[in-house]
Symmetry: C2
Subunit: 329 residues, 2 copies
């Protein structure tokens, strides 16, 4: 094992379709990226079998799983032998650089904060979501870690998000927007009006309020919000996309002529599906904790798991923790 | 003029494309619905000319307009002769039954509350938006009248929304949901957790939390939220739809074969555009004030204005104010 390889822990038992899709995702990731070592965390028998098939897989026994419905903080404390806390300890003791799981978002957040610990100076870690803009991706954060926020937290989200877009996505000068219900500075609810004032005062790269309709229209690179609003917006995007595809499918399937049309368009439709497919992204980064935590969609298939692992590796290579620490100094 | 005709005031100078599209919209509405009388409110010369063309048009002089950027409450007080306050006074004195404007949303809300007045028992009027669900429309409210809310307000929104869906949309037993970030009752921010408890206790037709992704997937008929969250969600739906159409257009225009595909699909694509077109809806009802106020999109074309007028007439015929008064008793 060489030292320049990136070491990633993968939760083999996280997500709705685990362990099958996780096992497949690990092997697919290994075949696409030869410079990673996977610490496969999960049921002893399963991970030992995986390790036999490829010497780049290190088995790590963790015989419990935290369910989606369990209270995250309690679960992390009680089930010390579950996949998520076991992998978080691998981050804490420096065994691995990154950790990917499609399991409980709440458990990932708790493990990141309570076990791995926050980066120096970070008040509250947040979850980012990379949205597919027309020309370039947009990082929206927080999308669910902090349902109730204070303006100071959004200032940090903006600084952390700026660091992410610079170091991971290569955007030279990221523009920050505040998710709000009017373009003018004085619009909004009490919280967003206060936050706008703070961002205007403290953030050089603040470009003003961003309305829901402008989220993905390329005006901003980072859009900050409290975790409640961000989660509603993120899931509304997913729901709208799903509804549009349903309408589109009905239109294409409505008669013999439209079916021919669908056949003529099949590769372009696949491309469109890919552009708007959450599995293409692989996962949402948890930002502000030590190490790199990436949270996959619970419904991920093998492709989603593979992309999540590759994204985790990419983020590790960008030395994001250092960039975040510098950004909030 | 017969008494069974519905009398609707129309702001001829409201919206980005006024007065041209408003004039066209009025004549289109009159040709589709023979049982309405239009009170055309606006510049004296213009509305007098309109009245000459059709005896079902009554001219009402109002020589000022409230701009989109003006402070609504101040503008209503200072510009007493502007279209929106003039029309609201027609509601107050019983001259007309309904009022449609594609002008300033804030001014409509202020005029509805300060001039027409609230329906007995209503704490805070709210703006509803009828979203295009897959099988049936969904009323989301509030979408912008009240940026900061208390749980009791959302309970009233639920009651008012239920009355609207029953009397205007003919839904026998509307199901109410609370826009939130998790399906379980205990999920959310402090506000939504409190609101969930109140709705569980007081509302017979409360069916639990609704996540953003389920907004338009037919599980609920009414989804309540504070005006900040609702406005973000509404505009995010618009933005996502716009982005999807951009991607789709690019796909159809990418080569000679896909252009043939587009030609074969043209009528279905128009149908899809129609399903997701905000102008088809015509406007958002302001709910809780006396009389019927319907707010059109600022960017409405003639079709949007026409549909807004027809929707206003339909709502008047449903005797909504009485239904709302009964619902919140």
């Amino acid at each position: 094992m060489e030292d320049n390889k990136v070491k990633i822990a993968v939760d083999i038992f996280g997500g709705d379709n685990a362990p099958d899709v996780c096992i497949q995702g690990v092997f697919q990731a290994l075949s696409e990226d030869s410079d990673i070592i996977i610490y496969a965390v999960g049921n002893e028998t399963v991970v030992n079998e995986m390790a036999k098939a490829d010497k780049r897989i290190i088995p790590v026994a963790a015989n419990e799983v935290i369910g989606m419905a369990e209270h995250p903080v309690e679960a992390i404390r009680k089930k010390k032998d579950a996949t998520i806390p076991v992998a978080a300890r691998l981050i804490k003791d420096g065994t691995v650089d990154g950790f990917f799981s499609a399991g409980s978002t709440g458990a990932m957040l708790s493990a990141g904060t309570l076990i791995a610990g926050r980066i120096r100076g970070v008040k509250r870690p947040a979850i980012g979501a990379l949205l597919p803009g027309y020309d370039h991706p947009v990082l929206m954060m927080d999308v669910g870690a902090n349902a109730d926020c204070k303006p100071e937290m959004l200032l940090q989200f903006a600084q952390i998000g700026t660091a992410y877009m610079k170091s991971v996505c290569g955007v030279a000068e990221p523009k920050v927007g505040l998710l709000n219900i009017g373009e003018e500075d004085e619009k909004g609810n009490a919280f967003s009006i206060d936050t706008n004032k703070l961002l205007r005062k403290k953030l050089d790269n603040f470009y003003g309020n961003c309305e829901g309709r402008d989220l993905m229209l390329d005006e901003f690179d980072v859009v900050v919000c409290d975790g409640f609003t961000g989660n509603v917006a993120l899931k509304t995007i997913e729901g709208t996309g799903k509804l549009m595809f349903k309408f589109l499918k009905d239109a294409f399937m409505s008669g013999p002529t439209t079916k021919i049309s669908a056949a003529l368009m099949s590769s372009q439709l696949k491309e469109l599906k890919k552009k708007t497919d959450s599995e293409e992204q692989g996962g949402s980064p948890l930002l502000g904790t030590k190490g790199v935590f990436v949270i996959g969609h619970g419904s991920s298939g093998a492709k989603g798991i593979k992309n999540g692992i590759l994204e985790t590796a990419k983020t590790v290579r960008c030395d994001l923790s250092k960039a975040i620490e510098d950004a909030i100094k």
